[in-house]
Structures are given as structure tokens and as C-alpha cells.
């Protein structure tokens, strides 16, 4: 099952990289959200093997529990990821307002599309 987690991480990274390399800003945004999720999974997989372990809520000291540290890190990462994604959404809209395009290629070519 380590293999499964690692494969999932690999696939999500490949897909999000592909999305980010696309021209459309919306795809870049989706790629970013996806890559944030993939990174969370990398952290999560650091927990090791969760089988036979309980959630890290200490009610009975004798029960083996999952590593809480990756979870705490991910919790922070999810929230920060959301903040950045929200900012990106607005940025995307502002770029559209200014340039009337969602295409990075057109934007970096420094020409405003005239076919409004």
C-alpha cells in the first residue's frame, strides 16, 4: 500500500504539472489546487503504515496511534492552500478584466487580443 500512495502522488503531480503547463489561467488555477492536494498526500504518506493504528486522539494510552505530526502539518497546509487559491481566483479575474483573456500565452506575448 506504500506503493499505492506513492503512485497516487506521482499521478497527481503529473496531472497537475500538465495543467500548469497549459496556457489557460483557469487550468493553471486547477493545477495549483491539485498540486496542493498532491503535496498534502506526500505529507500524509509520511505517517507510515496506518493499519492497526487509531486516530491520534489519546483516550487510551495503550492503543497504538497514527503519527499526528503530518496531520497537523497538512491541516495548516490545507488552509493556506485555500487562502492562496482564493487569491489566485481573484487574480485570475483581475487579469481577465485588464487583458480580456485567460490565456497566459497571449498575456506573455504582451499583446491584447483585439477580437473582443
Amino acid at each position: 500500500m506504500f506503493l499505492v500512495s506513492a503512485l497516487l502522488v506521482g499521478i497527481l503531480f503529473a496531472v497537475s504539472t500538465y495543467l500548469i503547463l497549459q496556457g489557460s489561467f483557469v487550468r493553471i488555477l486547477f493545477g495549483f489546487i491539485l498540486i496542493a492536494n498532491a503535496a498534502n498526500l506526500v505529507l500524509l504518506s509520511m505517517t507510515g503504515d496506518p493499519r492497526g493504528r487509531a486516530a491520534p486522539v489519546v483516550l487510551d494510552e495503550t492503543v497504538p496511534m497514527a503519527d499526528p505530526l503530518p496531520q497537523a502539518l497538512i491541516l495548516t497546509a490545507i488552509v493556506i492552500g485555500f487562502a492562496v487559491a482564493a487569491y489566485f481566483v481573484f487574480l485570475l479575474y483581475r487579469i481577465f478584466l485588464d487583458w480580456k483573456t485567460d490565456d497566459a500565452l497571449a498575456l506573455f506575448a504582451k499583446k491584447k487580443p483585439t477580437d473582443l
Partner: protein
């Protein structure tokens, strides 16, 4: 305060000078006293230690004594010609403090910090007239040169300290180069020498000093003649006991020093700008002092302070004279002044005395100094070490002849040739006050020249262990040593200077100063400008302004280095065994969820409409919730659900405001097949790298991991059973606070992006592009009005 601010600044050098003189009175000659004032950064071995010995007292006296005269002089010089007197005196005081810190530095790191501070204050003072082009380029050149060589020196300071194990000067001065690696010893010597050469404007760094003369004259006289540029000499003297026995000491210091002496004096002779002439003679004399330490006996130098003091006096006075001429006639070139004797006889007297001292004419201190210098040069000629014995002697004789010719020229051209029309037009008398500081120096030059025995007690009191040979207490300096080799050489130098001056006079001095290419400053400027150009070319090469091009570059670099490394060590991952063991450890739920996530993520790529893509994206997000549950992370699952919902709503809200055609992906440019293939290749490489990296990391779960600490202590320390929660709000509470701050910043930024936008009228006409809301006027609102 305005102009009178110098009255406020004046007490500082006066008090400093008095205190140092008092300390000198208390000081027992030939000893070194360390005052451990304060442990500044103990972990770095950086302590504030003051070292009081002959050398530091001598430089302290020169700095504060010249400071008194310069502050006095500046008060009259700045006058109404300059604005912002307060800024000027602040810089000057900063500089003086830095100089004293360097001179008395008893910890090599401490000394170095002040060494660099002098460079910074010098930069500020050269650039005092920051509006002028000369001020800008001169200060930049001085800063870059001295900072670059300062960095070289820093490497030397760090290495020497590490070798010795301490930066305390007591340990540094006791350093044994012989016990070190031969390469290390030679490297240290070169690093320190380059630091000294840069500060003292030795070849090939000599170009910055003449350009630094764009500063107001008091600054030139103080920093760039009397004190700061002598720091290279000071460093040579300070490190003398450490390095003198090294075989490179003589060739490096004497070779560079005497070459600079020759170059500087010849350049001075061929210059026309008054301050440039003095700048080059200063460069030359600094070369002489450094070379003097280079040829000194390993047991110690002799009379070194006398030579430095002599130069400080006459050169400082000459700079002040040039400043007075500038003040009185507004002329900066010697070719434009003449006939000033009639108008300013006192200034003429000062100039004659100082120029005579520069030329080494009897009855001035310059003559005494030159006699003793020649003695050393003859001694070296007879028993050379490390470089040909004739070289220092011949270079010096030629250089002295040129310098004497420069002295004759200064006196003759400025005062005794017919008055030029520039002088007649602009002259106004500068007043008596401004004459007094150079007069003091000129009188001192004469006094010591006529009664050289006065040098005796001074040098006795300033004797520095390790640096100088012990002076016989009975020794007296004499004006007349009889007709010996030194006297004859001295006369020969003067005789040689006359034809040199005469030839130039016959040619009418018709040349435009020194050829620029010899001054090296243009080459330096070119280098400075080439740097950003080169940087721009590199960033162009890396496509820094085009993210779509550099992201693949970064991704490929990551894959090649990280992924490549992991591929080379593939056997450590035991992939084959993991695949073989897959059925045994088959974890159906994991595989099922992972497959669904994979399919949904492919959906994002394949779908064209934004809404469809968003649905797939949300599907991935919600499925990851399930994955979190499988990993025993209920908190994460809850948070993920909340955040995923919020993201979905937010994106839907905003995306809805885009025109439908864009939402359908119809307006995005088509990419070429090759680009698509590249994208797929890069993505697969990144995916593969992350797979290997993650798998490799999972395999290495430590038995003793940090998380266990939180599990063990969450109830006791944080009074909470949920370890994840206590980490966030208790153990790492501040991190969470900052995380909230990030949210706040993102919200403010997002609001700023939208709210600051103003629609133009044309935009409002088109319903597709002008959705209302978010404090923006929309198409529909316009129709209502």
C-alpha cells in the same frame, strides 16, 4: 544651526585628540595593553577589545589631530558654498569614529567591521555632492573597489582566525605561519595584502583614489590623503609581526609598493587637475610606505612613523592649499591658475614649505625623512631579500625626482608665473581663518625639519613591539650626517628634477593629462556596466520573463537531478519486491479510492468546459477526504470537506462572471503538437520523480519519530486528548496565528485586486464582459439607470 554646526562637531576631535595624547602620556613605550571592554558576540569570538600600543596610538593621534585641523578648515571651506553642513559633519564624525575603531581594534573581527565602516563613510563623503556625475561615479568606484578588496580581506581575517582559533589580537599576533600549511600561509598573506592594496589604492587598484577627489576638499585632505588611505599601511604594520618572515612578504609588498610609487609619481607629473596631481603623489607615497614595510628587516622596521607623519603633514597641507585656491578662484586645473603670490603670499609660503618637503629639500621634515629612507634603500640594495636589490632604490630615485618636479611645478605655476585671466576674473580673498590649519602643518614641517631631534622622544614613546626595532635611547636625529651616499643621492634627485621640469616647461605642458586607458577607471566603469548586462543575458537565456518557458526548465531540472539520482539508486527502493508483495499487502479500500482519484484527475485534463473541470476537481478533493479517513485522520477529513466546499463555491461565483465563450475554452490559443508532447513528457518526468521520492521517503519511517512526543505529552502538557488539535493550538500556537495572518493577507489582497478596478465605459456596453457586483458597476445596473 546651519553653517555653525561645525562648532558643535569641533569638540569631538579636540577631545579625542586630548584623550589619546593623555593616554600616550600614561602609556609605557614598547608594551601592548588590551582593554577587554565588552563581549559582543561571544559565540563568534567577536569581542570589543581595544589594543593600546605605539601603532594604535600613533594612528589615533594622526586621525584625531588631523581631525581637529580638518574640522577647523572645513568650517571655513564649506562656508556658503555648500548646503547641508549637518549631513557633512555627521559623515565626517562617523568616519572619524570608524577610523579610531580600526586603529584601536584589538580583535581582528572588530577591527574589520570598523575597517569596512571607514569605506562606507568614505563612500558617503565622496558622494556628498550626489547630484554631480563625478560624485556618483567616484563614490561608486571607491565603494566597489574597497568593498571588493574588503571582502578579500574578510576571507583572510576569517581564515586566519580559524587557523589560530581566536580573533583576539594577542593570539593573532602570536600566530605562527611556519606551523601552518604552506599554501594556507601564502594564501593568507596574499588575502591580507590585497585588502591593504585596495584600501591604499595600490596598483592595480590605484584608479579609485583620483576619482574619489570629487569630494569636497576637506574630505580629500582628511580621508584620501591623511588617514583612510593609510589604512593599508596600517594593516601592513599591524600584521607585520605575523607575516614578515614569510618569503612572499618582501616580493609582494615591495614589488607592488615600489611599482605604485613609480606609476603614481609619473602620473602626478603628467596630470593637470590640481587634486589629481596630489592624489597621484598620495598613491605614490602610500606605495612607498607599503614597500618600506616590505623591505624592512624581519626584526623590525625603523623610523616608519616618522615617514608617515611627515607625509601626513605636508600632503594634508597641500590638499588644503588646493582647496583654498579652488575656494578663492574657482579653478580646478593648474593650467588655469597663476600669479597668486601677489594676492596670497601667506598661501605661497605654506605651499613653498610643503612642496619643499615633498621634494626633500633641506630644512624641511621631508629632507630628514628622505635621508632615512635612502639609508634603508641602500641597506636593501646591499642585502636584498626576495626581489632585486636595485629595484626599490632605482624606482624610488626616479619617483622622487618626478615628485620634486611636481613640487617645483606647483609652486612655480600657481604663484610665480603671470596671472591668468581666470584668476583675474574670479578671485576673491578667502580670509585668514582658512589659512591657519595648513599653516600649522607647514610650521610643523619646518620645525621638525630644522630640529629633527624632536622626532626622537616621539618615536621612543610610540615604539611598538614586533613592528620596530628597539631604538637606542641615546639616539638623536641629526640634520647633517656629513657628505655620504644618502646626501649625494638626495642632491642627485633634486638635480634630476630640474631637467625634468625644464623639459616639460619647454614643451609647454601641452598634453591632456594622462591617457584615460592608463588610469584603468574607464575599464572599471565598463566592467561595472557589463555586470547587469551579463546578468540580463543570463536571465534571458533562462527565459525569466516567460513562465511558460521556464516552468518546464525548472521541472526538467528537478526531474533530472532528483529523479536521476533516485533512478541511479533504484535498487535501494526495493521496487521489485514491493510489486511482488503487492497481493499480500493488498489494501482494497486504498486501491479503490486511489483509482477513483486518478480517474477524476484525468477528467480535469480531458474536459473542456470550466464547469466540468471544476466538478472533476471537486471530486478529487472530496475523494481525498476518504483517503484521509483511511489514514486515520478524522480532523483532516473534516477540514478537507469544509475547504473543498468553500473552494467550490468561491470558484463557481467568480467563474460565472466570465463570458460563456471563455468558459467553454474557446478563446484559448491552440498549442502545437510538439509543445503538447513536451508538456506530457515534462509532466510524466515530474510525476515519476515525485513517485520515487515519496516512495523512498515512506520506506524510511524512523522508529523514533517526532510525532510520538506529542502523543505522549498532549494530555499532560496541553490538557487535550486530540494530538492534532493540541499541536495546532498549543504546541505550535504561534504558527497557527501566523497561518491566520496569511488568510487575512490573502483576503485583503484579493479585495484590493477587485475593488481597485474601474470599468471603462466601453466595457460597460458589453453584457458579456461586465458582470456587476463586488463593488463594480455592471451592465445590468447601467440599464436600470
Amino acid at each position: 544651526m546651519g553653517r555653525r554646526v561645525h562648532l558643535l562637531a569641533m569638540p569631538v576631535p579636540v577631545i579625542s585628540c586630548a584623550l589619546i595624547a593623555w593616554t600616550l602620556g600614561q602609556h609605557e613605550a614598547g608594551t601592548q595593553v588590551y582593554l577587554e571592554v565588552w563581549s559582543w558576540v561571544p559565540s563568534l569570538g567577536l569581542d570589543m577589545v581595544l589594543l593600546v600600543d605605539g601603532l594604535s596610538l600613533f594612528f589615533g593621534l594622526v586621525v584625531s589631530g588631523m581631525g581637529v585641523l580638518i574640522f577647523w578648515y572645513a568650517g571655513a571651506y564649506l562656508d556658503d558654498h555648500y548646503a547641508e553642513h549637518n549631513r557633512f559633519y555627521s559623515y565626517l564624525l562617523l568616519f572619524m569614529g570608524a577610523m579610531l575603531g580600526t586603529a584601536f581594534g584589538g580583535n581582528l573581527l572588530f577591527l574589520f567591521i570598523f575597517w569596512e565602516l571607514t569605506g562606507i563613510s568614505s563612500f558617503l563623503l565622496i558622494g556628498f555632492l550626489y547630484g554631480t556625475k563625478e560624485g556618483q561615479s567616484g563614490s561608486r568606484m571607491a565603494l566597489l573597489t574597497t568593498v571588493f578588496t574588503g571582502l578579500v580581506l574578510m576571507a583572510g581575517v576569517a581564515l586566519l582566525g580559524l587557523q589560530v582559533g581566536s580573533w583576539h589580537m594577542r593570539d593573532i599576533l602570536a600566530a605562527d605561519l611556519g606551523a601552518m600549511d604552506a599554501g594556507m600561509a601564502a594564501g593568507l598573506l596574499l588575502l591580507f595584502a590585497i585588502g591593504a592594496f585596495g584600501k591604499s589604492a595600490q596598483a592595480p587598484f590605484h584608479f579609485w583614489l583620483p576619482n574619489a577627489m570629487s569630494a569636497p576638499t576637506p574630505v580629500s585632505a582628511y580621508l584620501h590623503s591623511a588617514t583612510m588611505v593609510k589604512l593599508g599601511v596600517f594593516l601592513s604594520a599591524r600584521m607585520f609581526p605575523v607575516f614578515v618572515e614569510h618569503e612572499l612578504w618582501a616580493p609582494v609588498l615591495a614589488g607592488v609598493g615600489f611599482t605604485t610609487l613609480l606609476i603614481g609619481s609619473v602620473f602626478a607629473f603628467f596630470s593637470h587637475k590640481l587634486k589629481a596631481i596630489l592624489a597621484y603623489t598620495t598613491v605614490a607615497m602610500l606605495g612607498l610606505f607599503i614597500g618600506f614595510y616590505g623591505i624592512a628587516l624581519t626584526t623590525g622596521a625603523r623610523f616608519d612613523f616618522m615617514h608617515i607623519l611627515n607625509h601626513t603633514a605636508y600632503k594634508g597641507a597641500l590638499f588644503m592649499v588646493v582647496g583654498i585656491i579652488d575656494h578663492a578662484t574657482h579653478q580646478k586645473y593648474i593650467t588655469q591658475v597663476g600669479g597668486l603670490w601677489r594676492r596670497m603670499p601667506l598661501l605661497g609660503f605654506i605651499t613653498i614649505v610643503c612642496a619643499a618637503s615633498m621634494a626633500g629639500i633641506p630644512l624641511t621634515s621631508g629632507f630628514i625623512s628622505k635621508e632615512y629612507l635612502l639609508t634603508e634603500l641602500y641597506r636593501f640594495y646591499e642585502s636584498p631579500v626576495g626581489l632585486p636589490g636595485w629595484l626599490p632604490l632605482v624606482f624610488s630615485v626616479v619617483a622622487f625626482a618626478f615628485m620634486a618636479a611636481v613640487g617645483i611645478r606647483l609652486v612655480w605655476h600657481i604663484f610665480f608665473r603671470p596671472e591668468t585671466k581666470e584668476v583675474a576674473e574670479h578671485f576673491h580673498h578667502p580670509g585668514l581663518m582658512i589659512h591657519l590649519p595648513p599653516l600649522v602643518l607647514a610650521v610643523a614641517t619646518l620645525t621638525f625639519g630644522i630640529f629633527p631631534a624632536l622626532f626622537g622622544p616621539l618615536l621612543q614613546g610610540l615604539a611598538t613591539p614586533g613592528l620596530q626595532q628597539a631604538l637606542d635611547p641615546e639616539y638623536t636625529f641629526k640634520l647633517w650626517h656629513g657628505i655620504n651616499a644618502e646626501f649625494l643621492t638626495s642632491m642627485a634627485i633634486l638635480a634630476l628634477s630640474l631637467p625634468i621640469f625644464g623639459a616639460a616647461q619647454a614643451l609647454g605642458w601641452r598634453w591632456d593629462g594622462i591617457p584615460r586607458y592608463l588610469m584603468l577607471d574607464l575599464a572599471f566603469e565598463k566592467g561595472v556596466y557589463a555586470l547587469p548586462k551579463g546578468a540580463a543575458r543570463v536571465s534571458q537565456l533562462l527565459r525569466a520573463e516567460s513562465p511558460l518557458d521556464y516552468i518546464p526548465l525548472i521541472a526538467v531540472t528537478l526531474s533530472v537531478f532528483t529523479g536521476g539520482y533516485l533512478l541511479l539508486h533504484l535498487e535501494t527502493l526495493h521496487l521489485a519486491e514491493a510489486v511482488a508483495a503487492l497481493p499480500d499487502t493488498f489494501y482494497k479500500q486504498h486501491l479503490f479510492v486511489a483509482t477513483l482519484i486518478t480517474l477524476a484527475s484525468f477528467g480535469i485534463v480531458l474536459a473542456r468546459r470550466w464547469t466540468t473541470q471544476l466538478i472533476f476537481l471537486s471530486t478529487v478533493g472530496f475523494l481525498i477526504t476518504v483517503y484521509f479517513v483511511l489514514y486515520q485522520a478524522p480532523d483532516l477529513a473534516l477540514t478537507q470537506i469544509l475547504i473543498e466546499t468553500a473552494t467550490l463555491i468561491l470558484i463557481l461565483l467568480i467563474l460565472d462572471r466570465f463570458p460563456r465563450s471563455i468558459q467553454r475554452g474557446q478563446r484559448t490559443m491552440k498549442r502545437s503538437g510538439a509543445r503538447k508532447a513536451l508538456n506530457i513528457g515534462v509532466s510524466c518526468a515530474v510525476g515519476g520523480t515525485m513517485f520515487l521520492l515519496t516512495y523512498g521517503a515512506i520506506l524510511r519511517k524512523e522508529e523514533d519519530y517526532i510525532g510520538q512526543f506529542f502523543l505522549d505529552n498532549t494530555v499532560d502538557l496541553a490538557k487535550g486528548s486530540n494530538a492534532v488539535n493540541t499541536i495546532l493550538v498549543d504546541f505550535r500556537g504561534f504558527d497557527t496565528l501566523l497561518e491566520i495572518a496569511v488568510l487575512l493577507i490573502a483576503i485583503l489582497g484579493a479585495m484590493g485586486l477587485i475593488m481597485r478596478y474601474r470599468r471603462n465605459p466601453a466595457e460597460l456596453e458589453e453584457a458579456e464582459f461586465a458582470a456587476g457586483g463586488f463593488s463594480m458597476r455592471g451592465h445590468s445596473e447601467k440599464e436600470e439607470k
